[in-house]
Symmetry: C2
């Protein structure tokens, strides 16, 4: 037989579920410990996204039950809008299905893979399906499903479906049995939930760990985050193939209308300019545009100045809430936060925010603790490959009075958090663990870090000065009794008079000190947002001395 | 309207082609430079795989034509077995389609994504489809196709198909126009092809770069690599969900037969032991096995001692060809190679090989050059995330007389190559750029490096000794004329006699040196495979002095 004919017999389709089943490390299911985190992360991210879209203050319950040494039951419930009956099977039982992929909008999820991948992993390791109860309104019934995934077809298999009694008026709860390992530490579920609470101060999270210890993160604010808007793509980000596809599928009848309606920042004048530059008639039907014409349109877009994409579609956390979040979970002396103005990479708007906490109960002997976030989701794995880590290393922290060796993170009692909010976060893998190294993104992160660093620098130099003053004061104070004694002898004071004199001398010293201090650190010179908590302050409280 | 109902309207399927179109950095198309390399790599890998399967000595032509500053035409042809007409459209026009995913076999490709992803990228950036000519036998016609990919459906669109005249009796040629950037350097097409030639000494590669410079890598051997065999999975690597799926789809009627036929290393006795331990009857139909029973079978597999998977399915390069490959492309003084015995990770057999070249024209002032390979494919990106790099850093090279600072690669005029051959290489991403950190793999790489390192160490200490001897000899030689002159005066020699005496003295010195050298470095003590090329030898050739 001809070899090619023999070889052809082995060719066949690979379902996307089979593909990820075999390559599950691509989705964050490399090992039992990571699988536990990924499963919970995907479910919590979805719950937060759903609540946000429905403008509900989220209340999320996470429960990990130890079944055997290596098998855990995960139960995650929310008070979100619920899921309509028909959508429950594909959302949890089909990879690459969802509402988020086709929108340019700031959301935690963006792929339509995560939660069904968790269900696939559960089925692979324990043979059990995923259980779901969801209800969309108090007047509607609650639906229960037991689903498996047919990985050869990438389709949900409904093993059971019922209407059930459920106490919640609306929301969703899911239950999965997975092979997992529960450990505390830097890269743990505990840490992920703590950081989630920091970056989502509007959410309440009730977490029961496998040892039945309950941790409740109460919301720090009742203000819901501004609902992010979906946007149309910006012409600068579009490529030839994508443009041709868009023209093939558009409902608009003329290419001018197509440009105006399917892109952001294209009005009639800009559309005329683009089409004029490409020598394409305004009334041409998009479907009849040739490859050569499309290519000229792309060229013409590059030569037309078009204003940047709208940035009100981004919903950053804001400096105040970033600080509140840090204060809630990190015991430090000093907190500051910076929220940069919006910027654009590859046609996608984004905002970088960063926060710094310093001193207090933080460990002074170790390298900085870095908390990385993307669209309000903590990133725990792949620290080394992330644009955030890279930007922190490349920032010169010595100028802000911190220790740092070349090519390393700074040292000291320090927490740095970096948040990227965007309509499309460029992750380095499907597991969404690290932000890719786009120069525009790195530049913005560095600018944010420098701004926050300067504020920290001011605080640290003030602190150093105050310490010096205190030392001087303590030194002079030692002489007060001797001076008083000498005066007692010289001008024959009574003991009572001597005591009063001593008090007076200390008062004079204190006044002098307050005076120099006030001069040296005029409060009005400090930036408004130099927040300092009184309770954990290491500085001596001069009023009480 | 109830929020969930409104939200449900946005839910929809995401095609795998759309997914990778939007996330193309996952496949190695992050930027124009990398896209060029990835496109060529996918095509060359496929050509080599096809030739190997058909037992043809590969002859591959790679041509990069510059169309504009940022647009290149890639033409890649082979003398492989060709592709049957019906298979051409799905192989090049559909993601996740192929013969390699469902086999456990040592191959370059394993996913069924690569070449269609390149076609998708071409279409996205230049709007052009992929052109293919393929012929399976001289008696059969050559088929020409022009294909595009319908990314919404992940299906090939046939834009043109014809029977054409073609000079080759069998083989395939493809042509793609892509947005790209051509640069030389460490991570370039030039380097990839050079390394491909090293690791595939049986292949001839004819490469024409965009500047019309032609580079021909002629094969170094006519021996075809041993054809790797596909194997069945080993029971130790199987998980519950996978076992249940296999039982659902098997054609075998009893669970005993199923175990014996669908797994490697399970004979009747082992099957009896497994089923006995699980309290499952031999004659049970696989389809009727419950989850609980399957779970018990998995438990029982863990408690049954089963011999390791067969390892003759792996086709390593071998020490001789590794050395030949290095000698062909790297000008050094010393070469050595080590091929480890097969080992197993997660039920998958694998072999680690490593080679070292030292001295000669290599740069003495820089860190080692690392060449990483997996199933005979050079890995150029993601150096830092690769198990190979990690193992090199963790090896103590100081004991082999090399410079190395802690936590770094060694320094010196050194090339280290590491090759992993396996039925399934665990890559860290779809772009197949780095090997994941499995402890079993890292252990084997380190053992290979240590073995090669010891051979290098012996060579280096011998070289140091020889240098010392030479210095001594040169020193003594300086005195010969003076001694001869003194003797001439003392015993009144003629000038002719004096000259003879000088010659004799030098001979005595040389003999003495050869004597100490032979004693200090008895050739028979050296390992057989300490290959040293005479031509590039820095050591003084004592015969010619």
């Amino acid at each position: 037989m001809i070899k090619a004919v023999e070889m052809a017999k082995k060719q066949r389709d690979i379902s996307v579920a089979e593909f990820f089943e075999k390559n599950r490390h691509l989705l964050g299911f490399d090992n039992p410990r990571k699988a536990l985190l990924t499963t919970i992360k995907e479910a919590v991210d979805n719950a937060l996204d759903a609540c946000e879209e429905a403008e509900i203050l989220p209340e999320i319950e996470v429960q990990i039950v130890r079944m055997t040494e290596s098998r855990y039951r995960i139960i995650i419930g929310d008070n979100g809008p619920g899921i309509v009956k028909k959508q429950i099977p594909p959302i949890f039982g089909k990879l690459l299905y969802g509402s988020k992929f086709h929108q340019l909008k700031q959301q935690r999820g963006q792929q339509g893979i995560g939660i069904s991948a968790a269900a696939l992993y559960a089925q692979l390791t324990t043979g059990n399906g995923i259980k779901i109860i969801s209800r969309i309104h108090e007047d509607e019934p609650a639906h229960y499903y037991l689903l498996k995934i047919d990985s050869r077809k990438n389709k949900p298999e409904i093993k059971d479906e019922q209407i059930v009694e459920w106490s919640k008026p609306h929301g969703t709860v899911i239950e999965l049995d997975i092979e997992a390992e529960y450990k505390k530490g830097d890269i743990s579920v505990d840490e992920y939930l703590k950081q989630t609470a920091i970056i989502n101060p509007h959410a309440t999270i009730i977490y029961t760990n496998p040892d039945l210890k309950q941790e409740i993160y109460v919301r720090a604010t009742d203000i819901k985050p501004v609902q992010p808007k979906g946007i149309k793509p910006h012409p600068y980000g579009v490529e030839l193939g994508r443009l041709m596809n868009m023209m093939k599928w558009t409902e608009y009848k003329t290419v001018k209308l197509f440009l105006m309606k399917e892109f952001s920042r294209v009005g009639p004048t800009t559309a005329d300019k683009i089409l004029g530059g490409a020598a394409v008639l305004n009334k041409t039907r998009p479907k009849s545009i040739t490859r050569e014409q499309a290519s000229k349109i792309i060229e013409s877009i590059k030569n037309t100045s078009i204003i940047s994409p709208p940035t009100d579609c981004i919903s950053p956390i804001g400096e105040e809430l970033m600080t509140k979040g840090l204060q809630k979970e990190v015991k430090a002396d000093f907190y500051t936060a910076v929220s940069r103005p919006p910027s654009v990479y590859r046609g996608n708007p984004f905002v970088i925010e960063c926060g710094i906490a310093y001193g207090g109960e933080l460990n002074a002997e170790s390298a900085v603790t870095i908390m990385r976030f993307a669209n309000r989701v903590p990133l725990l794995y792949q620290k080394g490959s992330c644009a955030s880590t890279d930007s922190i290393i490349k920032t010169n922290w010595k100028s802000y009075h911190l220790k740092q060796s070349k090519g390393s993170k700074p040292y000291g009692p320090l927490v740095i958090m970096v948040h990227m909010a965007s309509v499309w976060v460029p992750f380095t893998s499907e597991a969404k663990e690290a932000i890719a190294h786009y120069p525009e993104i790195i530049k913005e992160i560095k600018l944010a870090l420098q701004e926050a660093g300067r504020k920290l620098g001011i605080y640290l130099s003030r602190k150093a000065k105050a310490k010096k003053e205190l030392k001087k004061f303590e030194y002079l104070k030692k002489y007060v009794p001797h001076v008083a004694e000498a005066l007692q002898e010289l001008i024959e004071l009574t003991d009572y008079e001597k005591e009063n004199l001593e008090k007076a001398l200390v008062e004079v010293l204190e006044d002098g000190r307050s005076f120099t201090e006030a001069n040296g650190n005029q409060q009005e010179d400090l930036p408004d947002d130099l927040v300092e908590t009184e309770t954990h302050n290491e500085l001596p409280d001069s009023e009480s001395i």
